[in-house]
Amino acid sequence: MNKELEHQFVTNLEKHQNIAHKICRIYTNDQDSHNDLFQEITIQLWKAYPKFRGDSKFSTWMYRVALNTAITLYRKKKRSIRTQDFEGISFKIKAEEYNNEVEQHLKLMYDAIKQLNDIDKALVFLYLEDKNYAEISETLGITEVNARVKMNRVKTKLKSIINP
């Protein structure tokens, strides 16, 4: 029974691990903390797994638990994780695919996201993941109206960071 649950969980997580990796990219600045956060997410997911009854999709449930982990972990460590060194960010933008100007601009935006607070990062992440407001509200446990308002504020915030 236990073996089977383990197998089921690991198979599911292996399949959907991109979600966790992408969250790690938003919340961490180097490979070590990326792996740390990934492991913490894995542990939290595994702990919560017995309560996951399959009434939602694994991926939907994973978004919620993984984001919660990232947010609480980030809160615990407060600002200590924040380094100003953005060299380590592993956003690889291929030079052939963009012209220099676009590339520069994208980097500026990724840097701006890194400066947001933990909740705002979650909103941007879900936006980038193409989630609609219903899904965002469910994942973050806020109302749809609230999600809309918050998202607009984040967009304004991002704008002011990029064009001060």
């Binding site: 992408k22 894995t42 017995p50 690889k92």
Partner: protein, 212 residues
């Protein structure tokens, strides 16, 4: 701004290709990592504690200390006690290390539960060893010190013998001091290892829940 974000969204999708990937086995191992890091800390703390003990011994045991020990005829006993306690402590450090190695290479819940129980037991034995050895050293030292005073007092012809009531008071007083002494040591160790043991216990309970 909307255009910017759309551009970002597009790029975000392309990033997917460059994401790292963990294998089934990698993820499987991560589930059990937490217990392994607690056991690692137990191992590290036991080494630190041993080193601290050695440093304290060196600092405390100056010439005057050994002179006093000689006076009380405690030199041999003290050296012997050090030796024995170092050997036993080494044995425990080795056990902690073995527990750590075992737990990090564990691959199933039931084996992990066994390892957690074993680690908890080792720590408890270790604390018991510390308490018993401290008690023995305390009593032996006390015995030799009293004997020294009786011998030293003899030539003066003063009556050093205790009445029954004096003995009762003396023994109960000693026991109270011993109890406080051991209590403080026990509390200290509960504090150092207690937090880690509690976490292990929590992990164990969670594993047990999964087992059912």
């Amino acid at each position: 701004m909307m255009d910017d974000l759309d551009l970002l969204k597009e790029d975000w999708k392309k990033q997917e290709k460059s994401l790292p990937r963990f294998s089934y086995d990698d993820i499987y191992k991560m589930i059990w990592k937490r217990s392994s890091s607690i056991v690692k800390w137990i191992f590290i703390i036991s080494i630190l504690e041993f080193l601290l003990g050695v440093v304290l011994n060196i600092v405390v045991a100056d010439d005057e200390y050994w002179e006093n020990m000689g006076q009380f005829n405690l030199t041999e006993f003290t050296i012997g006690a050090y030796l024995v306690s170092y050997i036993i402590t080494f044995y425990f450090i080795y056990k902690f290390y073995k527990n750590y190695r075992q737990i990090s290479s564990t691959d199933s819940a039931s084996v992990l539960m066994k390892n957690i129980l074993r680690t908890r037991k080792t720590v408890k034995y270790y604390i018991t060893f510390i308490l018993i050895s401290s008690g023995i050293v305390f009593l032996v030292d006390l015995f030799f010190i009293i004997r020294h005073h009786i011998i030293a007092a003899e030539p003066t012809g003063k009556d050093m013998s205790f009445s029954a009531l004096q003995w009762a008071m003396f023994i109960s007083g000693t026991l109270v001091v011993l109890a406080i002494f051991l209590g403080v040591i026990w509390l200290l160790y509960r504090l150092i290892y207690g937090i880690l043991l509690r976490r292990l216990k929590k992990n164990y309970k969670e594993l047990k829940k999964l087992e059912m």
